[in-house]
Amino acid sequence: MKAHLMYPDRDFDSEAKLSAQQQTLIQDLELDTLFQAMAGGDKLILEVVRRAVTGGLAAPEEILYRQSILRDCIKNPDVVRTLYKIASDAIQKKKDIWWITSGMFLSSVLSGAVNLLQMFAGMLKMLRGVADKHAGQFESEGFSALFSMLQRELDDEYFALLQTHLHELKFYDGILIGAELGGHNQGVHYMLRRQQDKKLRRLKWYFAPSFSVNPRDENGCTDLAKRRDRALNLATNAVAQSADHVCNFFIMLQTELAFYVGCLNVYERLAAKGEPVCFPEPSGCRTRRHAFGGLYDISLALILGQRVAGNRLDADDKELFVITGANQGGKSTFLRSIGQAQLLMQCGMFVPAERFAANICSKVFTHYKRQEDATMKSGKLDEELARMSGIVDEIEPDSMILFNESFAATNEREGSEIGRQIVNALLEKHMKVFFVTHLYDFAHSYYEKELPGAIFLRAGRQPDGRRTFQLAEGEPLQTSFGDDLYAKIFENAPDKPAV
């Protein structure tokens, strides 16, 4: 029994350790805000979405598989939340009734496992009830498979058989054990034997010779318990493992639904604000596409009260995006929204845009300017280059790298040269590069080259110095309008002493 709501053919790994690269992405793209909104206080959802969003899918079919499931969820939010609750309840009830210790007699483990399976059977029945009632409202391949599996595997006949066996495993009529004589006549090769029906058994066993253990004979009583354990060893294993398997099914179902419940949560919040979302169009990783309208920073949208400015761009067949322009002009926000949209698309989610189409990237990396290293272990440029080298260790062709003011820890000439050497190599190795920079030398040298795959974007600025927070194509300029910012912060600067 499998849930298979995240992949058509395998389980989702909710315990995978987040790689350093994933953690960097979460930090640089401000994803924690998004994750908190998705989780809505549910720890499991938080853990699942942290992994799902940063662990992208590589094939368009896998993305579309999740997209269609998510469409079903958006249509049937209550049913999906009911399924999630049944799975969560089953797991919680298990925690309440199931505990074993190594010193326990196996017979106690067995009776505990039998009780657990009886509880699970009830919860499975509820799941099947949901399937019976609502299967028709779902269209996606994933939900159809799940519902029909529940109806097929858990029919009434099987539930009845299961109940009979679970009842027998309580051994109200004693335990029958087959044995042989071992090396010194001790009983060996104990085997649990099935008892015949009641009448026949009474008849046969009534006159059988018997040995009774005095109830005050502690050793003797323990001996009887150990005898039972020896006979129940394999049966206990089968029952307890089955309980584990069923439990794992519930865990898997809960985990995979957690992703979609998280999507629903954020979907409803954005809808309440009137922010648009759309299902993106992924294309193969060898192509180069980036065409979108109304793309905004989803984390910013979740924090801000008012609607946020969106960007539009049609830049197919581009591989180098150089972004320059005004400070606080929306460069970082734009870069974040690019990274976020890529990750959201590649995890099967909707993206924060009116329309969005892009090629899949094999991996996504961010290389952002960092605060000064507090440990004083290395200089700032050292640290930046070390991180760059770490990225190079893991990069694969058709990856996306987002640079944010990288290599500015040294003078412009050197920083530009380092940047060029790195970017040239990356382009040659088929990477998609977004580079936010103030390094004029660096940016302009690419502009002069007139590369067909390069596009230059500039943070907009009204003639009066007001920011538009919109980016437009344009030649890199020498100044980043720091004076504007200075002027804004130090109003009437000439009159006041500089701080």
Binding site: A179, E180, N185, G187, L192, Q195, F211, D223, R230, N237
Partner: protein, 517 residues
Amino acid sequence: MAFQSILFQSREAPAVHEARAYCKDLNIDQIVNAITAGWKEKDYDLKPLFYSPLRRVDDMQYRQEIMRDLENETALCAVRVFARAVYTLENSMRFTRKYLLSQDPYYCNYLQKGRLLESAAAYCAAVEKLAEDIAVPDLRSRGLAAFREYIASYKDSAAFTALQAETASMRAELSAVRYCMLIRNGSIKVRKYEGEADHTAEIEAIFERFKQGAVKDYRRDLPEEPYAEHVEAGVLNLVARLYPEIFERLDRYCQKNLRFIDETIYAFSHEIQFYIAYLEYIGRFKRAGLRFCYPRMSGESKEISSTNGFDMALADKLIAKSQPVVCNDFYLKGAERIIVVSGPNQGGKTTFARTFGQLHHFASLGCPIPGTEANLFVFDEIFTHFEKEEDINSLSGKLQDDLVRMNGILRQATPDSVIIINEILSSTTLKDAVEIGKKIMEQVVRLDALCIVVTFLDELASCSDKNVSMVSTVVPEDPAQRTFKIVRKPADGLAYAMHIAAKYRLTYECLKERIHA
């Protein structure tokens, strides 16, 4: 030669001793403890054998031959497996016999009878196996060759073949017994097995569809031994009622075969442990690259020698810490009888003296000893005089105690004795010590016994033609570092002092330069 004992050439074994005084001084007690560490004392009682030197060269050779044979891994392995098996069997059979002879049905039950049968089967198998294994290696020792003959004829004897046949058929009958227990409300009912179905398989089948991925394994490794013997014995009594002929036959079998182990074989299985224990012990040194040899023993010549000997007690500790072991040589020629060891402290002098004693002791047991070659003397006794802590209960002074003990030794010692003296006379003035020391040396010289003296008194080294001087040495460039090599050369206490002085630039030459007028 009919086989009698693997330790002695005749059954009239010489008396065995407890550890003697010298064993503690020479750390032989530590060595013996280490040798017998794997052999439970109450079971094997091997220690006295390692404290009992032999007196006849031929007796030592009898054992040396056996040791050499057992250095062959095939032979050692065959004998070790057999001896352990037989020895433990007999020890457990003692209890089983006691139970089976008791009238109390609580003890005399079918589990004990089963144990007797099981042990007899193990014994038969062990004898068969040994007869087969021991035929392979080339055995040159008188002892093992005779034992091999003994075991071959025993294996074909009527008594043994009958035991073997009865045991096999009895076990075959019992192993065919099948029964079922119904456990309910504190009682067990028993019937013959009648083809009742395997319930576990049914359970596994019904839960099959939940199976996916790896989950915890709940199976436990449960022993197939009964927890309470009386319950198992009670169940067996019920089983016996279902299969009366088989169990009556088992009763008769046990009466007949209550004692099935041959006494000579049992004695062998005990005595051979002496060899096995020692060879296993020295294995740890051999693995560390140290060598052992079979000493030539003589009851006449006192021209003794040893090459690359070492102190086993110390080497054991050093190897455990992966530190190197320093080997040393000595020899005495012509009239030389006394080795006088002097030189810097912590230089290995006492270790050297202990090695001297240990080599003699273990050689006299017929054992291989540390070194690449050795010629040793058959002593009648070893006397040691090691410095003792001052005894608070003694009213006399330390010097007096020393002299009393020394006097006792010289009164008991014979020309065939070995005397080991370690640092005496340290509690008096140098002048007195030299005087007294020389007098004691004179007595030892007169006695003509073999002797080793560790002393700080250089004068003792050259006071007689019978004396040989040996000195502990240091690394010349760094006198604080010892080599632990003891070499034959004239005693020169100053040599060491000069090294130290040079190191601190306090030699005459140095001071002349350093001190300006």
